[in-house]
Amino acid sequence: MIRVVLPAHLRTLAQLNGEVELHVEGQATQRAVLDALEACYPMLRGTMRDHVTQQRRAFVRFFACEQDLSHEPPDTPLPEAVATGAEPFLVVGAMAGG
């Protein structure tokens, strides 16, 4: 089970309270987690990554285990602690806007 924490605006959009728990088939990667998240909550499609290119939106970041994973290739395995559910995968709206 993988735990995902969304920023407030996306929790509101998906009508969620608190963390999301996802079952991800195969290796836990950024792409697999986002695919599973969007499959459960289709209204999130296009809000974290581009519909077509699948590139991360510029002001969205991915953190876990006190690391910034935003620039990791999407198929890189996530840290073991995320894969086991010990630590959450954080989707963060970048600090911007003054």
């Binding site: 605006h9 996306l10 959009l13 296009g46 809000t47 519909h51 077509v52 002001f59 709206g93 911007a96």
Partner: protein, 371 residues
Amino acid sequence: MSGVRVLVGTRKGAFVLTADGRRDRWDVSGPHFAGWEMYHLKGSPADPKRLYASQSSSWFGQLIQRSDDGGATWETVGNKFVYDGVPGTHLWYDGTPRPWEFKRVWHLEPSLTDPDTVYAGVEDAALFRSTDAGQTWQELPGLRGHASGPSWQPGAGGMCLHTILQDPSNPTRLFIAISAAGVFRTDDAGETWRPVNRGLRSEQIPDPTAEVGHCVHRIAMHPSRPGVLFMQKHWDVMRSDDAGDTWREVSGNLPTDFGFPIDVHAHEPETIYVVPIKSDSEHFVADGKLRVYRSRTGGDEWEALTKGLPQRDCYVNVLRDAMAVDSLDSCGVYFGTSGGQVYASADAGDSWAPIVRDLPAVLSVEVQTLP
């Protein structure tokens, strides 16, 4: 008793203002979608309970919301706006080619007859249509594919398609306006388009009378006379009596002919409204006075409407989509400001009162006249 529902889009959410036909006591609901930029909300003329809303943010991109109960509840619908084919390029501010890139939906225009059909004007400028109530969107590529497309350039606010007018007497005719390309018309339901900008003069472009390149801020028509168009250009207020084939200036005695919105009285096709703005570098009303100007002669002769509006120390702007009219017997006129006020007049502009004073900066105002 009949009433009105005013749909207000702001920098930080949407608000729905309702009143009965007297339009003197208002109920304010919102913010809906708090914290998001709500560029535009509009109701279907064919089903007033059906509303569409454009929701966006720099962080999370574009969303489209639909309501089937007049704004009480909303459903997130499709937000996949993909240009048809290979997007190609337009010109960037510095004159270099730049690939078309979707940024946001500026304007939603529901069909006059089908609640499930709605047009979307987007940045970078293109026209999309949904025929399944917003679930999926398809570009009408003939517009962006016009031979002039690679020469279109953005205005200061981005290269946006901001106005979509449907001819009620001819379902195959649409008008759209792009900043800064100009007005285009289709007579075959969006397959092919032609620029209709003859008569416009813009000193800010190399050829002031070019076929395309004009920064048109807004166009408006009265449904009973769809061949008569009114335009607020970057500078100049214009009119066309031949469906855009030719234009002439009708700025007349306006104190300044820069501005953004223009609208037409619901029952008097020659009565039009603008809000003059000091200049393109000073985006606020002139002399600290918020004045709507009304022409009862289809332009040229204008009168200032000031009763109930601040006449000192006022420095707000009124954006292109932030004015609308209702169709009650005494036409109501509404507009919203960059300072967060929404003003209403229940007597065609003779007098005004604020409905709300302290919203976030207003991006759009639309009005539904309810049975």
